[in-house]
């Protein structure tokens, strides 16, 4: 079963993943990461591990495990 | 040490004639330098080169006070006649340099009808070699055979063996003309 791992401290809050997630499974956190950004949070119950977030992310925040 | 200037207009082969003389000098165990005029002079107008040869180290390769000058057109004669060393020689093609050559009493002007000889040989491009033959005779530093061997060796290395007979004939005519 695939799963998404989020490196929250790499996130710069651009929002590309939020926009392009086909399941609307990604939202921004309420708190801030170490760089001061609200970071991407994945709702595992909605995620299908399609990898769109990996594809659109400029900062290598997402890893999809096999 | 001897200093010789070869001067004419571009295409007459004066640079080549000078090179042959320098190569002949090397061939006979001397040191030699060849210094061309270059740049704008290559593209029309007069062309000239300075050849020096010596039994010992040659310091300046440049024009200082030539022992002999070969002039193959009037502008070259006019430009260089004042430069010849007192007692030196001005060698001219009398077919081309038709101006008054009686300019300096301390310089011997040697006139060769080079163009006429070249036409007789049916080889108008050989003017430079004919004049070179005369030059070598005047210098007296190299035998006729030594010079012809050196010349043919040089052209042979450039892959121009096919002109050997014609060059040899031209050289001999010039050598015999003084």
């Amino acid at each position: 079963m695939s799963k998404v791992i989020v490196s929250k401290d790499k996130c710069k809050q651009c929002g590309y993943c939020v926009k392009h997630c086909p399941k609307q499974a990604i939202s921004f956190s309420a708190d801030f990461n170490s760089s001061g950004f609200k970071y991407a949070v994945v709702d595992d119950s909605k995620c299908i591990a399609c990898g769109m977030c990996y594809t659109t992310c400029p900062d290598g925040v997402f890893e999809i495990t096999e | 040490m001897k200093e010789i200037v070869f001067a004419g207009f571009g295409g007459q082969g004066v640079l080549t004639a000078g090179l042959v003389l320098s190569q002949v000098a090397l061939f006979s165990g001397k040191k030699a330098t060849w210094m061309p005029s270059y740049g704008p002079a290559m593209r029309g107008g007069t062309a000239n080169c300075t050849v020096k040869y010596s039994d010992s180290r040659i310091y300046s390769p440049g024009q200082e006070e030539p022992d002999v000058i070969m002039a193959l057109n009037i502008p070259s004669f006019n430009k260089f006649i004042s430069m010849v060393k007192p007692g030196g020689i001005m060698l001219i093609d009398s077919d081309i340099v038709t101006c008054d050559t009686n300019v300096r009493s301390d310089v011997k002007v040697v006139k060769i009808p080079g163009t006429t000889i070249a036409n007789e040989l049916n080889n108008p491009k050989a003017l430079n070699i004919i004049m070179l033959g005369a030059m070598v005779k005047l210098m007296g530093d190299f035998s006729e055979k030594e010079a012809i061997d050196g010349m043919n060796d040089m052209f042979g290395k450039k892959g121009k063996n096919k002109y050997e007979a014609a060059n040899t004939a031209a050289f001999k005519k010039g050598y015999a003309a003084v």
Binding site: G15, Y16, H20, G51, Y54, P58, G60, I64 | -
Partner: protein
């Protein structure tokens, strides 16, 4: 159907590009292509002057530090002396099309068998958003504060089309990043460009329309919208030339 996806191991660290900057995506695509083509241990990337300078120490492959605009020349000799090496020149539009126009065009003119990836973000990013030859008519930049006046500065330059139509090169394409599908297409262009080099077909160039949210004064998402609405109509996407493999 799900497959694992991980940033290539040759990317050592996150690069400090601005939030939403397209460089991060394009660098990843480039490194994915190098890895997938099996060239991780036989590759040299030409790094330019500009925002891509931030790649310092970020990539675990040989990375040549070029002079501003001149990598078209430097990559030429590297590729000629090391013909089996994959040589990729990663350049911004200011680097490749402004200051390095001569080197870029001359390398293409000679059909040098290396790959150029140019990031077209319509301005000079690193120096603070000045006008580039790729800036759009009317675009406000640090050196065109009233909007680019094409009467004085000419219309935006389309170098890929110039190269494709003028020189006997192997592959030219233009991609963008505004949807996952466009990103995947762009990756396929980069891969085909590298393959053209590997096959010895000739010079290849891929331009990528990329957002510069910081200097455009837009959010990342609005920047992507601008690309769709304003840039794509002038800089059409797709393969411009493909001579095919050997």
């Amino acid at each position: 159907m799900a497959k694992g996806k991980k940033v290539p191991e040759k990317i050592l660290r996150q690069v400090p590009f601005c939030p939403g900057c397209g460089h991060g995506i394009i660098v990843r695509l480039m490194m994915e292509c190098i890895e997938e083509l099996g060239y991780n241990d036989n590759v040299l990337i030409g790094k330019p002057v500009g925002c891509a300078s931030l790649l310092d120490n970020a990539l675990a492959v040989d990375t040549f530090t070029g002079a501003h605009g001149r990598n078209g020349a430097s990559m030429t000799t590297i590729k000629r002396l090391k013909p089996d090496m994959l040589v990729v020149s990663y350049q911004g539009d200011g680097d490749a099309y402004n200051i390095g126009f001569s080197e870029t065009m001359n390398a293409a003119y000679r059909n040098e068998k290396f790959t150029v990836i140019t990031i077209n973000n319509g301005n000079f990013g690193m120096t603070g958003g000045q006008m580039a030859w790729t800036s759009m008519p009317g675009q406000v930049t640090a050196t065109s504060v009233n909007g680019r006046n094409v009467e004085l500065s000419g219309m935006p330059i389309r170098v890929p089309e110039m190269i494709a139509s003028s020189f006997d090169t192997a592959y030219v394409a233009r991609g963008s990043l505004f949807t996952p599908a466009e990103i995947k297409k762009t990756k396929s262009y980069i891969k085909k460009a590298m393959q053209a080099q590997i096959d010895g077909v000739g010079h290849s160039l891929v331009e990528v329309l990329s957002p510069c949210p910081t200097n455009w004064g837009l959010t990342p998402l609005a920047s992507m919208e601008r690309i769709v609405n304003e840039l794509v109509p002038y800089f059409p996407l797709g393969e411009i030339k493909n001579k095919g493999g050997k």
